[in-house]
């Protein structure tokens, strides 16, 4: 058999695929299991909701920034007040 025919055979073989008959059942099993999970307190689901909705994502970033800012102000105030007390 020449190389060209072998190459064509290779391509043909790669195009073929064997599927396990239970494959759709396995996928649907995972899907139903996922659906049975409680909607809230489900971290992967929460992450998904957050990643899909831009408003929630932006809201969380703003809250995070605010918390960080307040904390920085708090630390600065503490340092200054101690400095005033000591000085």
């Amino acid at each position: 058999m020449d190389k060209k025919k072998l190459y064509e055979l290779w391509i043909e073989k790669k195009h073929q695929v064997e599927i396990n008959k239970s494959f759709p059942d396995k996928v649907m099993g995972r899907v139903y299991e996922y659906e049975r999970r409680p909607r809230w307190f489900d971290i992967p689901r929460l992450i998904e909701i957050i990643s899909v909705h831009t408003i929630i994502k932006n809201g969380l970033v703003v809250i995070g920034a605010l918390v960080g800012f307040i904390r920085v102000i708090y630390v600065i105030t503490m340092v200054l007040s101690k400095g005033v007390l000591n000085g």
Binding site: M1, L6, K14, I19, P24, V27, V31, Y34, V52
Partner: protein, 178 residues
């Protein structure tokens, strides 16, 4: 055949079982695609399952104005397969091809070696050339759809495919163009 958009609408509206229709419709394509990027059959089936599961979870984000469902699904399949390789879950070593193994011919070893070499060379291609080659040659997808899946222009797809074929031909010392 039931309209794909109607099926997707039903699933989003809570008819979970309708998703089975999409799985049955695309299982071969997804398995074939993952199988031609990754050769371990068990890992490949796990990845194919993951592809459909991810598609189900993200179905609400699918926008048919940006492309067909198959293109969207193949994009997930491509990314999952490449991620699996990146995570080093996949053995990349060549495997013996079974195409000619059963044939009783005097040059059987030579033929086997040639097929093994094809496998090895395919997997030694740069990843972007490998996936384009798989999508074009094994999946027989049009360049436009490959461009959408890869997130590149059609011209880039042509260039990658041409380079992949040239590399394969050179590595295998073929005297004809693939």
């Amino acid at each position: 055949m039931i309209d794909e958009q109607a099926i997707i609408k039903n699933i989003i509206n809570g008819d979970v079982e309708s998703f089975r229709l999409l799985v049955e419709r695309y299982q071969k394509s997804v398995m074939r695609m993952a199988g031609n990027i990754i050769r371990d059959r068990h890992i490949c089936e796990d990845i194919a399952q993951d592809v459909f599961f991810t598609a189900y979870k993200k179905l609400k984000t699918f926008n048919n104005e940006q492309g067909s469902f198959s293109t969207w699904l193949f994009t997930i399949a491509r990314n999952k397969s490449l991620n699996a390789i990146k995570k080093k879950k996949i053995p990349l070593a060549g495997e013996l091809s079974e195409i000619v193994a059963e044939r009783n011919s005097p040059d059987i070893l030579q033929q086997q070696e040639f097929l093994n070499e094809l496998d090895r060379q395919l997997h030694s291609l740069p990843r972007n050339q490998n996936t384009v080659f798989v999508l074009a040659e094994f999946e027989k997808l049009p360049y436009e759809q490959i461009a959408q899946i890869e997130g590149v222009r059609i011209g880039t797809v042509r260039t990658r495919l041409h380079r992949a074929k040239r590399k394969l031909a050179k590595a295998l010392r073929l005297d004809w163009e693939i």
